[in-house]
């Protein structure tokens, strides 16, 4: 349940960052943000369904996502940077596993391409 809560929260945070009002805090453009948000929420839904089965899983997901969204809005209204910091941290970590110019980390350490 905790994992689903975190996924939901970060998914909601991504969707929030994609809105006009928070454009100054965006680490990446709107498109990838929205996509990331949807993916994270889908992950939370999948986790709930795998854990509880279809019926209870959907109910648990809707409850978790809604409450995560409300928590996000409450924190956003007072401290926007604090509210989105978990997501920004995750993006920074994801970015750090990539070499510059978009080359992926190769298993044996050598980089594919320039």
């Amino acid at each position: 349940m905790l994992a689903e809560l975190c996924l939901s929260y970060c998914g909601m945070a991504a969707l929030a960052l994609a809105t006009y009002r928070l454009r100054d805090l965006r680490p990446v453009p709107v498109g990838p943000l929205r996509a990331a948000g949807m993916v994270l929420l889908a992950g939370a839904l999948a986790g709930a369904v795998l854990r509880l089965g279809a019926g209870q899983g959907v109910v648990a997901f809707l409850a978790t996502a809604g409450l995560a969204g409300i928590a996000l809005v409450l924190i956003l209204s007072a401290r926007p940077r604090v509210a989105v910091s978990p997501l920004l941290f995750a993006v920074r970590v994801a970015g750090a596993t990539r070499r510059p110019m978009g080359t992926a980390l190769h298993p044996d350490g050598a980089s594919a391409g320039g």
Partner: protein, 530 residues
Amino acid sequence: MTGVQDEVPQGLRKVMAWIHGWLGLLAGWMLFAMFLTGTASYFRPEITQWMQPEMRAAPVPPERSAADAVRYLQTLAGDAAQWAIYLPDTRTAVTRAYVQDAPPPPGSPPKKRRPEIVIDPATGVQTTARDTRGGEQFYRFHFQLQLPHPWGRWLAGLCGMFMLVAIISGVITHKRIFADFFLLRWGKGQRSWLDAHNVSAVLALPYHAMITYTGLITLAALYMPWPARTNFPTPDAYYRAMTGEPPETPATGRAVPLASVSAMVRAAEREWPGGRASRLIVRHPGDAAATVTVVRHAGDGMNARGATITYAGTDGRRLAASAPPGAGVATAGVMLGLHLGSFAGPAMRWLFFLLGLTGTAMVGTGLLLWTAKRRRPGAAPFLGLRLVERLNIAAVAALPAGMAAFLLANRLIPAGQAGRADTEVAAMFWIWGGVAVAGWLRPARRAWAETLALSAVLFAAIPVVNAITTDRGLDRTLFGDGDALFRAFDLAMLAIALLLAFGASRAGRRPVPARAPRRRIERKEPAHAG
């Protein structure tokens, strides 16, 4: 234009907004009370446990509690028409029983309905813990509104329909749902209340729609009985078709002792892999035609109408079992389960509780938005606005005080006093009404702050009074072992007190007067070097 609008406006969104505002206002005060008491009801057995601190029941296997209950009821009401026995489970340690007496011979006055019998599983007889309604008070108020049957349920149903239409009209009228999805601005008067109303409504919309619709379904037999009347000769026949119980057989008058119910409970649980027996319905106990129906626990699945197996009372012979329900009956049962949250484990129940509070906030912010929209700075408020403002204070700020008073009364009224259960209920309504009326004597803003502050104080007093009057207060439970429920309950009371205090402090702030936008003064700046 202030006040009543006589004409329905044109345009779909405008019409929907008009409907939404009127239905929300007319039903809002009662809906707030229904949401708040309903949310509390998610913890109905826990509240009852807290309100009977003398009871420290250890769990007892269901077969034994069933046998004890039957033995006790045989001494108390051996010639009854029906016993309904609610077995203990993980949240309720006691056995509860309801007796339905046989109709009296013609010419005699009708027998009074017997009150609930609470059996202590440790002793096997009626409990000696203090008499209280417990969590049942909030639960029953939630759908009966303390009115006599059936008026309370009808009024609650009307409010439920208003809520349903308000939700649908609210969705249709809400423009740009996603643009302002995450917007919440503080301290901006009407705009803040609108933001808060939108956030609490939209982010938990699936819950609000679900709880409203399923709430109507729970009493569908009262609100929409005619389909059943057309298809079944009696309402009882429809009920039996739904639950799978066999048709009623009249008593023979021959006395035959009841067979072992423990064996029946064990047999039923064997047939349900991983399932629990939750209820026994014994018809014509002690008669040759006696039957015992074992009902499965509502929390075993999403369908709250558990399967049933019926045994003959004389020898425990398996008579009938409910067939797996069809899609229609199962849908109604799942809706019931969703409304009660019976399938929910502890974590999920807390989520439901928080969602219920969100719904309460949705209704409350809606009511406050209505007045905020119509307040004109400097102008005297019109009569309707004054009336709505006062009703808002009575419904939103004073009700928590009443609920806290109910819990405080439980600790302050001596445990042995006669009629104490009714006195606790009286305390809830006298304090609720008294605090509301006291608020009417104050200017509106001060009334909000003071009423909320009083509610906060009353909630904070609950753990204090608990520690003074019982040996299960926070002074012992906070770091002790084994009284987790009392600890959690007292801490929750403190959390609610903090929330109300926060509300009181914000309500007491002087509103910042709207400033005229500052005019920019053109300044000639020296050109920057470089």
